[in-house]
């Protein structure tokens, strides 16, 4: 898109927002996701700052390239908005989901979503299905299980199965003192994923995780998660804020591509069983 057209689009957005006078008029952006320049990024998905920012409806497809595949379509589209302050970019993803699936269990799965950007933006993007060997993509993943944990759900069996009764945990017996380091160390021995430092095994301090991947099956956590997020379920839909650093060589006035994915917990979607978009153009508004 030429610069003159970009400028006139953002002018139209500003006019629409003013015309809406706080009635949250939404400006559709059918061709691409447009990230507005904002010196201060929204802190929540319910932030008023999202009102008036252009909305792109990202159509979702079934992940049907690698087994196991999703064989029945579920979530059809995600409404995507974006804003940047020049160093970070915030996305708001909204999609319809009647049920809030944020309670883990042996057969309960999480509602979740993710945003994917190429690690090295360029004209020739890597494969949209999680990149390819030597051409990684970066993913920011949010899970409703983690959100509930961050929002205060205790790390106990009774928090997820209220009627559960446990006779005995060996680390809660004498002579170990309650909340002592020895007690924590022994409890850790019965939580192998935590003991080995699996970054997703909790208890969570944030509901998102940064990941890199070079093709299906190669997903790995980034050394440090620098993204933030927050999800709220309201009126039978999720609104999730994902905020991450801008990729290298991408800044205001520039652009790259992005993709989104959504998992529905009530349909036991996880991992490869997901709805995902193809690459969608992402353009960043220039600094005023």
């Amino acid at each position: 898109m030429r610069d003159s057209m970009r400028r006139s689009f953002w002018a139209a957005c500003a006019a629409a927002a003013l015309a809406g006078c706080g009635r949250h008029a939404e400006v559709e952006s059918p061709g691409e996701v447009r990230a507005a320049f904002r010196p201060v990024l929204p802190d929540s998905p319910a932030d008023e700052a999202w009102a008036g920012l252009p909305v792109h409806d990202a159509a979702l497809l079934m992940q049907d390239m690698v087994d196991p595949r999703l064989m029945e379509p579920s979530t059809g589209k995600v409404r995507v908005q974006a804003a940047t302050d020049g160093t970070r970019i915030a996305f708001r993803l909204r999609w319809d989901d009647q049920d809030k699936d944020d309670l883990p269990g042996s057969a309960r799965f999480a509602d979740a979503c993710a945003v994917q950007l190429p690690a090295a933006p360029g004209a020739d993007s890597p494969a949209p299905q999680m990149g390819e060997e030597g051409r990684p993509v970066e993913i920011t993943y949010w899970s409703a299980f983690w959100q509930a944990s961050v929002d205060g759900r205790p790390d106990t069996i009774n928090a997820i199965y209220p009627g559960a009764r446990v006779d005995h945990y060996p680390f809660q017996a004498a002579p170990l003192k309650d909340r002592s380091e020895d007690q924590k160390a022994m409890a850790l021995r019965y939580a192998p994923a935590r003991n080995l430092g699996n970054p997703m095994s909790g208890p969570r301090t944030q509901p998102v995780q940064d990941l890199t991947v070079e093709g299906p099956g190669t997903l790995r956590p980034a050394p440090v998660t620098r993204s933030e997020g927050r999800g709220v379920h309201q009126n039978k839909s999720w609104a999730v804020l994902l905020k991450r650093p801008l990729p290298a060589k991408v800044g205001p006035g520039g652009g790259t591509v992005m993709a989104v994915a959504v998992w529905r917990g009530d349909r036991k979607e996880a991992g490869a069983r997901k709805m995902r978009s193809g690459w969608v153009s992402l353009s960043l508004e220039a600094r005023p």
Binding site: P68, M71, P104, I157, A187, Y190, S201, A270, G271, A272
Partner: protein, 376 residues
Amino acid sequence: MARVYNWQIGRETSYWYPGSRPKKQFAAVFDINKCIACQTCTLACKTTWTSGKGQEYMLWNNVESKPFGYYPLGWDVRLLDKLGAQRWEGGRYAGSTVFEAAPAGERVLGWGPEDQDYAYPNVGEDDCAGGVTKGAATRIPHDMMWFFYLARICNHCTYPACLASCPRGSIYKRPEDGIVLVDQTRCRGYRECVRACPYKKVFYNALTGTSEKCIACYPKFEKGLSQQCFLNCIGKIRVAGFLSTPKEAREDNPVDYMVHVRKIALPLFPQFGLEPNVYYIPPIHVPEPFLVQMFGPGAPAAVAAYRALPKDKDLSALLTLMGSTERVLSRFRRAGGSVEGYDESGTEVIRVPVTEPAHVRAAIDVAQGVVRSNIT
């Protein structure tokens, strides 16, 4: 999918990865006829490995009554129903394995248990099949009512469905001993393995968000020691070892002898196609069709061999050796009235009499002036 050879079904079958047998394969034999369902094995495992938060419902080892006991609920019958007709032509399986029957978009034919399916670990306990009619109650023994106890752990399969199903490759089979493990640093809790394992021996930890399973007590096994559930078995029904392929079977290797040479120990649901490595000496009092469905076409011959044990010196000697030592036995030898067990280095680690000596005391203790209630 690749093609691999599965000797338990007498033919090649499909598998997600090319065949690659480990250098050695951990295997076990369980003698069902000796199990009393005391659940000591279950508790030995539970206290050793799964006493943590999020592991409350996990039973890496469990003992269920068959035909009506299951953990999780209906684990076997649900898959048997999905798999359709399972026909054998002699020793060759003519039906589909869970890999061959995988629907479009799936790597394995499987199903995912619901939360409540794990809520009844004792369902069906001691429930009998059949009824006693036509005056059968006046005859002992009668063969109209039956049940038996099935002790189960992970089968550390040669072609694990859990491993095949994981899109992340988070499950691996150790080349040194064939033990199948979930990499706890890599698992992301998708539960494809829970869905795929026909024996339902992978469990999701809802507090850590990862799936966990029996590790065959590998820290012990690496030192030549048997697993906790083997060591603590009151009935001494279990023996651990390394199983060879049929062509390389050794007559003096305890598990080779029972599985390959005498064919008295059989795999659990071989028709699923995973080549499971826990072998069962089938119960001798159970109707043949049930045994054939559960243990394959070798069941009638195994039952006949077991019934002939009193005249079978080598086999009865070996069965005496089961559960007699914590050491893993690589070799056994019957010598006169005793049987000896040797570890991998060739050192004799156990020697037991094949027939325990009986001492009979007089019925009346003259010195104490009392009648003895126990004289042997």
